[in-house]
Amino acid sequence: MGAKQWQSLEAALGWVGCACANALASLQTVEHGFPNQPSALAFDPELRIMAIGTRSGAVKIYGAPGVEFTGLHRDAATVTQMHFLPGQGRLLTLLDDSSLHLWEVVHHNGCAHLEEALHHQPPSRPGFDGASGLPSLARITVVLLVAAGDLAALGTEGGSVFFLDVPTLTLLEGQTLGPDEVLRSVPDDYRCGKALGPVESLQGHLRDPTKILIGYSRGLLVIWNRAARCADRIFLGNQQLESVCWERSGRTLVSSHSDGSYAVWATDAGDSPTTQPTVATTPYGPFPCKAISKILWRNCASGEHFIVFSGGMPRASYGDRHCVSVLQAETLVTLDFTSRVIDFFTVHSTRPEDDFDEPQALAVLLEEELVVLDLQTPGWPAVPAPYLAPLHSSAITCSAHVANVPAKLWARIVSAGEQQNPQPASGASSWPITGGRNLAQEPTQRGLLLTGHEDGTVRFWDASGVALRPLYKLSTAGLFQTDCEHADSLAQAAEDDWPPFRKVGCFDPYSDDPRLGVQKVALCKYTAQMVVAGTAGQVLVLELSDEPSDQAVGVASVDLLQDREGFTWKGHERLSPRTGPLPWPAGFQPRALVQCLPPAAVTAVTLHAEWGLVAFGTSHGFGLFDYLRRSPVLARCTLHPNDSLAMEGPLSRVKSLKKSLRQSFRRIRKSRVSGKKRLTAGSKEANAQLAEQASPHDVEVTPVQRRIEPRSADDSLSGVVRCLYFADTFLRDAAHHGPTMWAGTNSGSVFAYALEVPAAAANSDRRPERAVEAVLGKEVQLMHRAPVVAVAVLDGRGRPLPEPYEASRDLAQAPDMQGGHAVLIASEEQFKVFTLPKVSAKTKFKLTAHEGCRVRKVALATFASVACEDYAETCLACLTNLGDVHVFSVPGLRPQVHYACIRKEDISGIASCVFTRHGQGFYLISPSEFERFSLSARNITEPLCSLDISWPRDAMRARPRESPKLSQANGTPGVVLGPQSRGGSPDPTRSEGADTPEPPEATLSPTSVDSATSADTTLDTTGDVTVEDVKDFLG
């Protein structure tokens, strides 16, 4: 009773006071996926953590799953090099503006965070070291940490080597080694007036920190003794140098060269200077080869050392391949990747007392993914990565989130995924990067993120925690006959056995057929049924099966045009399904296929497993399909007769710039889809269109100028179905509720159908003989004609109706069927709540009229209070075209709070946003990364982890701490929360007691919503609203 009163009080007061502060908080919490445009890689063998730097200046450190740290350099410059100070949790980064940055993992209240501790910007060319008169620190080419990381040697383009005190990031003057000094020890005939070129490589000796191996671009290798300031040994290489590796004993050097060769040099034999290497080979010769950009030499107790190198492919035949070669004795494998190799490292022993490296794993960072190979298992299999998954292995076309996945379904999906990718039996091949401890609690509920891809696949990701883990991949392509088959590439691979290519990695951005692209996905978590809808109007109903099966799929087609005249579809053909029984592996197997006619992309889909119905919509109309009986129930055309664009009728002479531009783009796109005659027909037509706009009729004097005109019924694409929704509610009268279906269109129309769903027999999911019936119940035309983004029915208590089966299986509170229901219609411009069954406006909020922003995504989310364990409120979360997230109370539609979330220029980020049921959300910050944000203070998924770091914490501590940046890689500004303010709660679910973390109001500073509220206060005084709104057409 008490709680109920409180709730009504909250509602009445519009969240004045504590609930607002406690339940809502907004921030980006963690990034999932693969960092966009990686540029540097580092590995700390002691802590077993790995760092990836990106071209936008982001630094990400990964350890065991769940251990993640993120930092962002102040300048969005490319991170060119990164070096861990071994065991210290510190990282030295070099940007392409030649600035050096020292990052530290620091602990606050047991949780570790990455912070920038120091940075050093070397002065530009003139006057840097005027005293010593040495060449300036023009551009640093290589960095080497020596003496346990206290000292760094910096090789430069000018050929000098500078020394830097790392703890203070200050240059040690007077220790600089210029090229002249080195040249003095070189014989005259080698010198011959030529410069040594930039320093290409600096290598340290594992056991003797005074020795440094310096490799110059010209080919000269010098073992420099720092203590004695003299060259111990000199190797007079004449081939342009790319990289050098010093074997752990120090007796062997291997150098790689720009002509695709590598040379092995012995350090303890012969005279100094050495002129000839002991071995020099061109592994992929004899024809000209590309440079070997990096080479590693790792020895083993077995005596058969590993040589790992990137590049070196024959220039003419395979010069375009991205390859890393692994050579051990007679075994050579050419790892063939689909994207550029950035860097690679081996995980091996680095203890000085060991005699052998014994490499366990090879990690290769590519432009689009990270691949780890197990070098201890014969065949060097790839190790599945528990995180850093390339989300974009095929471009993401849609995404959906399923919260609170039942354990049973979870286990079935995981098992289906394991059958797809059989795990290697041996336990040895586990993920080698295991540093840090994950302090986050086991997630209380399982969250599933579904991503639909361009190639017709749907990927299932474990989104419960910080590490986004791939679970299962569903491919729908097998159901259709596509233009091109994979066979040719396989055949090609088979015919050449030299070089011994091996395809590695899963990044494959090439789609066989764009029509396969997945547009919408919906999953019923209780029945394990799902619907996948695609670009060519295909709607596929699937069901999870634990056994493989052979079966034919029933195909139905639904004509959404009905008998509309004058329409010709000029787009792609529909996909032709394969006939006959098809083999389906365990996992989601198709039960029914519906093909929309015309085969336009599906724009909305919804599934009601309890009723066995799936509703789908395209730009032409919507349909309802009974997949138990496999029969279509309803098809309704939503095209406006005046919409010449959608109707593809003759083009009208007078049309707006917007319209014709849209038209031309559509044509271009369409011609691209149809593929063949892109250049001839499509672009000519488009050019003609553009030329037409240039006519004086529509010439705009000012470039940025906006036309002010209300939407009219004839606007193009008004028939696009934007949302579909099933609800058990009161549509006909207040006494009887029943199944209903709602559809909203781009032109502000909402159609509500009353459904007659015969009850299924008790123990069978087969429908009895009677068919489902649909009767148009209501039609609402919003006067402002803005696209309808979402429709939801609220029960008597103002809460959204539970999902199918949720109430009947006691998983959610049963909806209140006593009080009057209401329907919330969210358009791009405003939210309105209408009463049911008599549709009259109850409350509304005109977002666009007040704020000038438009609604892009909405979701009803439950916000649990931090202060009170069992108190939760449902709110409407809304993302606008400006990238702000607004939260409104339901059903009062009062603005609660709003935050800047996504940059407004980041259109794809805004378009990709999905909200979860518990106030979190995901959006793409790059093609390969999801940013996770949380509007709820209770429900936060963020990295909580610690590192066992050991380094002398002396005077460093007293240094003033610079403000950390915890923003994401591509610089989306937003609510940035310093780690300190959250550090107090390693356990986000802990909520009781005096040590409840302070809600981070200060740092968040949600914008005041007062101004917006005041304008609409009159709305809730229902008196005149109801009278004026009543349009009751009851007979």
């Binding site: 004509d559 009905q562 008998d563 009986r629 279509p632 129930v633 309803l634 098809a635 309704r636 007769p641 705009e700 004097v701 000012t702 940025v704 100028q705 906006r706 036309r707 002010i708 005109e709 209300p710 019924a713 549509l731 006909r732 009268d733 007659e756 489902v772 009767v775 148009l776 119940g777 209501k778 039609e779 035309q781 919003l782 006067m783 402002h784 803005a786 411009e829 405003q830 209408f834 008599k838 549709v839 406006a841 509304k844 005109k846 666009t848 009229a849 007040h850 000038g852 922003c853 438009r854 400006l882 304008a1015 009278v1027 004026e1028 009543v1030 349009k1031 009751d1032 057409f1033 009851l1034 007979g1035």
Partner: protein, 372 residues
């Protein structure tokens, strides 16, 4: 209206048109040939005949598709009334001596409840006698200058009545910068300006807006700090009842308000039409008496139990009357009940709606009229 062609058959025959005429509390129904409506004089005589008021001078009005009560006093507006009537033509007759002119004009049947009751019960609302200067009731306002008394002289607040007119709003806005006088001297600040007026558009025809006028507010919300796109969206969202506060580029035509301060009522400076006192809000507030109430809702009224429920829900006879009237008005292109199918759909894809027989609908209508 897009549905009309599909359901045209339901709204009566194409040739004839139903007329429902109301005088006092009495209704008369008859039909007219849609193609040959005849002259206004004949129609006037017909009305006098069917209402049995042969020698009474009356004002004839009709409800147009937007629910506005508009006069019929010549052939032109008579033909307009006949051609736009859908599905039936609703005629309201008032005695000339009792006529309430304020009833005519914009949105009268939808919004102004009191106005509506004036029409329905001319005898209970006789408080304000009207000064009839000309015949403004024959016209519909397209724009007005409002809040002259509270705005600085350099500003102008213009209200555009897009609603109910066929003309486009017809203007464009752009980014620009203006010079403001601040405590720190002159400052250049970004602003939004009108960049173009479409010839023949509403904005141009009012003469109240001009190119290079700076837009300061849209429906009471300041535009400073908002982007061009935001302001565009705000204007479009408010386009049915757009109130723009501008600083005109040409400051020479400003209202001189010295007379106003001397206590004159100042109506002369007010451009809006007399007869709409309730629309000149002394203090402007961004209240929406505009579009949203006009969302068209078509309900499935096939369940007969709803009729008693409707009676129960309506508190007074008056509101019931109102509901009934708006039902019959056919406003906003609403097509009554036969839009909605009661017939169960076949399981096939070709869902066809079975339309109800028109006579059934008539019966229902007559039934509710009896409850009046």
């Amino acid at each position: 209206m897009n549905r009309s062609h599909r359901h045209g058959a339901g709204s009566g025959c194409l040739g004839t048109m139903e007329v429902k005429s109301k005088f006092g509390a009495e209704f008369r129904r008859f039909s007219l040939e849609r193609s040959k409506p005849g002259k206004f004089e004949e129609f006037y005589g017909l009305l006098q005949h069917v209402h049995k008021i042969p020698n009474v001078d009356v004002l004839v009005g009709y409800a147009d598709i937007h629910g506005d009560l508009l006069p019929i006093n010549n052939d032109d507006n008579y033909h307009k009334a006949v051609s736009t009537a859908n599905p039936l033509l609703r005629i309201f007759i008032q005695k000339k001596e009792e006529a309430d002119y304020s009833a005519f004009g914009t949105d009268t049947l939808i919004k102004k409840k009191n106005v509506l009751t004036n029409v329905l019960r001319p005898d209970n609302h006789r408080k304000k006698p009207h000064i009839v200067i000309s015949m403004p009731q024959d016209f519909r306002p397209v724009s007005s200058i409002i809040d002259v008394d509270i705005l600085p002289e350099t500003h102008r607040r213009v209200r555009l009545y897009k609603y109910g007119t066929e003309k486009p709003l017809g203007f464009y806005i752009r980014d620009g910068s203006s010079v403001r006088v601040t405590p720190h001297g002159l400052e250049k600040v970004p602003g939004i300006f009108i960049s173009r007026l479409v010839p023949g558009g509403l904005a141009q025809s009012t003469g109240l807006l001009a190119v290079n006028d700076e837009v300061l507010e849209v429906n009471g919300i300041e535009v400073s700090g908002k982007s061009l796109d935001q302001v565009t969206d705000m204007m479009i969202a408010n386009s049915r009842n757009l109130i723009i506060t501008v600083r005109p580029a040409n400051q020479r035509n400003n209202v001189i308000r010295n007379s106003r301060t001397s206590g004159s009522s100042g109506q002369s400076t007010d451009n809006s039409l007399p007869g709409y006192p309730q629309q000149i809000e002394p203090s402007f507030e961004p209240e929406d008496e505009d579009s949203d109430e006009d969302d068209i809702i078509i309900e499935d009224n096939g369940v007969p139990q709803q009729i008693p429920k409707a009676v129960r829900n309506t508190e007074s006879l008056e509101s019931l009357t109102q509901i009934e009237l708006s039902f019959e008005s056919g406003q906003n292109g609403f097509i009554p009940s036969n839009e909605v199918s009661l017939a169960p759909l076949a399981s096939g894809t070709n869902a066809e709606f079975e339309t109800r027989a028109p006579d059934q609908k008539l019966l229902e209508e007559d039934g509710t009229i009896i409850t009046l």
